[in-house]
């Protein structure tokens, strides 16, 4: 902070700009507090055991989102199972194998592009490609494949960042004592980069949980719980709406108590994910400094 030797001359423009700066920052914070507060107040009353463990059914007279919770879990697991190996592999290629050149530029450009494509476009593509061309229709599988493409850049980028922080001495050390490149990647690089990879995965979970436009026309809107144990296996070929989709549908039908109930559940998940990534980042940082 600079202190003028004589009394500080105060300028009107400075004061005005200071006010603008504080005002803007206040908006961002108040928005968040307002949003969380409003959703909690409106939605907490809808949350009870039935809401979380039963599916909505006119026959049983129950209102609940259990079916949607299961669908969300299915989509998270399937998407991550496919996207994580591909994303991590792509990052390893870019960081460890690739020599700078045209191919790398194209891979990096397309990864950037994928990150910039809006989810509604992924939804349209998923609908025609996975839904029509591959004949998956409205199904959890169709939705999971679509989301795989969407979160791929997230995982690739986070892994790449993590790999970049691994000191080069680790690599030359391992190679120097006779390890092959793959052995070095498997035993030295991947474990060192693990916190970064996990952060990417957690961020991807957040993205999947919050996604709606890409799923509306791919995974569809089914909300029923499978009735038989086998049903849990065939479920992946059937339509299944995530919590976010159900929130959207409830909102468009005017069922606001369900909508706010889901909103509370989603907010809890988002806040949890936020803390988890912060915690990991901190742990990662101190680990590096030691």
């Amino acid at each position: 902070m600079p202190n003028s030797l004589i009394k500080k001359k105060s300028r009107i423009q400075d004061t005005v700009l200071y006010i603008c700066i504080y005002f803007s920052a206040a908006i961002s914070v108040l928005l968040l507090i307002g949003i969380i507060g409003y959703v909690l107040v409106k939605g907490i009353g809808s949350i009870n055991l039935e809401f979380l463990t039963k599916a909505t059914s006119a026959i049983d007279g129950t209102t609940g989102i259990a079916g949607n919770i299961i669908n969300t879990l299915y989509i998270i697991v399937i998407t991550l199972l496919i996207a994580t190996p591909i994303g991590v592999g792509s990052a390893i290629f870019l960081n460890e194998y690739a020599k700078p050149g045209r191919f790398v530029r194209i891979v990096e450009f397309t990864t950037e592009t994928l990150a910039g494509i809006p989810s509604i476009i992924f939804g349209l593509f998923g609908m025609v490609f996975f839904g029509n061309t591959l004949k998956l229709g409205y199904s959890i599988l169709s939705g999971a494949f679509t989301l795989t493409l969407m979160i791929l850049p997230l995982i690739t980028r986070n892994t790449q960042e993590a790999l970049k922080t691994v000191p080069n001495s680790y690599r030359s050390g391992a190679l120097g004592i006779g390890a092959t490149k793959w052995y070095m990647i498997r035993t030295i690089l991947l474990p060192s980069a693990m916190p970064g990879i996990i952060t990417g995965i957690i961020l991807a979970v957040g993205r999947i949980v919050g996604e709606s436009a890409a799923l509306l026309f791919t995974a569809g809107s089914g909300y029923i719980l499978p009735k038989t144990p086998i049903g849990y296996f065939t479920k992946i070929f059937e339509s299944g709406g995530t919590m976010t989709i159900q929130l959207y549908l409830s909102m468009s039908k005017g069922q606001y108590s369900i909508a706010f109930g889901i909103a509370v559940v989603l907010l809890v998940i988002v806040v949890g994910i936020n803390f988890l990534t912060k915690f990991l980042a901190k742990k990662f940082d101190t680990g590096r400094r030691d």
Binding site: S28, L32, I35, T110, P118, I120, F125, A213
Partner: protein, 311 residues
């Protein structure tokens, strides 16, 4: 005996070579997935989006304001839809960027460390909130408020169609909130990347803190702030679910109190029941959106490249 050991060493080194090569091939294939994905998305968007232009006519779709896809004599003009997306995005940027950049200034320059540490997680959380929740809040809070405003402003207007508050302004306000985290985070890292020597030099010449921020640090962080704006545009123009219920349900020219359709919301709200030509035109809308996004992406890559050359 000796020959045996030799051959086993040889064999193991051969397996090693195979494993090494397989690993490299697998990683390369992983990298190709991104290329394939972008390629096939582009291909499909064109394959599905172009036929309607051929059937209905390019001018009949792009420059015709009448959108009556289900009428007896259907008309598929998306001029107002395109204009709404452009005007809505522009308004969101005009309102959101100053707030976002000033918040970034607050976080990186003005705020005491502890306060900044408390505000930053708030911004991250804003980024993580699912877009449908913003839509829900817009529907429950903004729309009733806008309806009241509408009733006051258009009390004596015989021509105004009342929208119940679902109008362009509501949608723009939701978009502003949604682009804030992007703009804040990216401008903030741009500002923090400005070398401290510039700041010290400015102070040394007797400039005030505010003068230093606005005359020295912001110009130095220019390319980062431009990146933030471009990403904000991309986010705003591509957002669908948050504004689909908030912006109203009929196609009108983009005036503040009109019920409007964006490129994205037109697809979301009509794809469920559209058939034949109507459906094909919805894909054409998708194609228009896709072209906008690709242009934005290319601009962004150019900016980032320029930045690298500067450094």
């Amino acid at each position: 005996m000796k020959a045996n050991t030799n051959s086993s060493v040889m064999r193991s080194s051969q397996t090693k070579v195979v494993v090494e090569n397989t690993a490299q091939i697998i990683f390369t294939i992983c990298a190709v997935v991104a290329i394939l994905a972008v390629f096939s998305i582009t291909l499909y968007m064109f394959l599905k989006g172009v036929p309607a232009f051929a059937d209905v006519g390019v001018a009949e779709i792009l420059f015709n304001p009448v959108w009556e896809p289900t009428a007896q004599n259907p008309s598929f003009g998306i001029l107002y839809i395109i204009l709404t997306s452009i005007v809505g995005t522009a308004m969101a940027i005009i309102l959101g960027v100053p707030i976002g950049v000033l918040t970034a200034v607050f976080l990186s320059e003005v705020a005491p460390k502890k306060l900044a540490a408390a505000v930053r997680p708030a911004v991250d959380l804003l980024a993580g909130i699912p877009s449908v929740i913003y839509g829900l809040l817009g529907l429950m809070i903004l729309n009733p408020f806008m309806y009241k405003l509408e009733q006051i402003i258009f009390e004596n207007s015989p021509t105004h169609q009342f929208t119940g508050g679902a109008n362009l302004i509501s949608a723009v306000l939701v978009l502003v909130i949604m682009i804030l985290p992007t703009v804040i985070n990216i401008s903030q890292s741009a500002l923090q990347a400005v070398p401290k020597s510039l700041k010290d030099a400015s102070f040394g010449l007797g400039a005030s803190h505010i003068q230093t921020i606005f005359k020295v640090q912001m110009p130095a962080a220019r390319s980062g702030i431009v990146t933030a704006i471009v990403l904000g545009i991309g986010r705003a123009i591509g957002e669908a679910m948050a504004i689909s219920l908030v912006s109203g349900s009929s196609v009108n020219p983009p005036f503040p109190f009109n019920s409007v359709r964006f490129l994205t919301t037109a697809i979301v709200s009509e794809m469920g029941y559209a058939a034949d030509t109507h459906r094909m035109v919805l894909f054409s809308i998708g194609l228009v959106l896709f072209v906008f996004i690709m242009v934005i992406n290319i601009v962004l890559t150019k900016i980032l490249k320029g930045e690298k050359h500067d450094a």
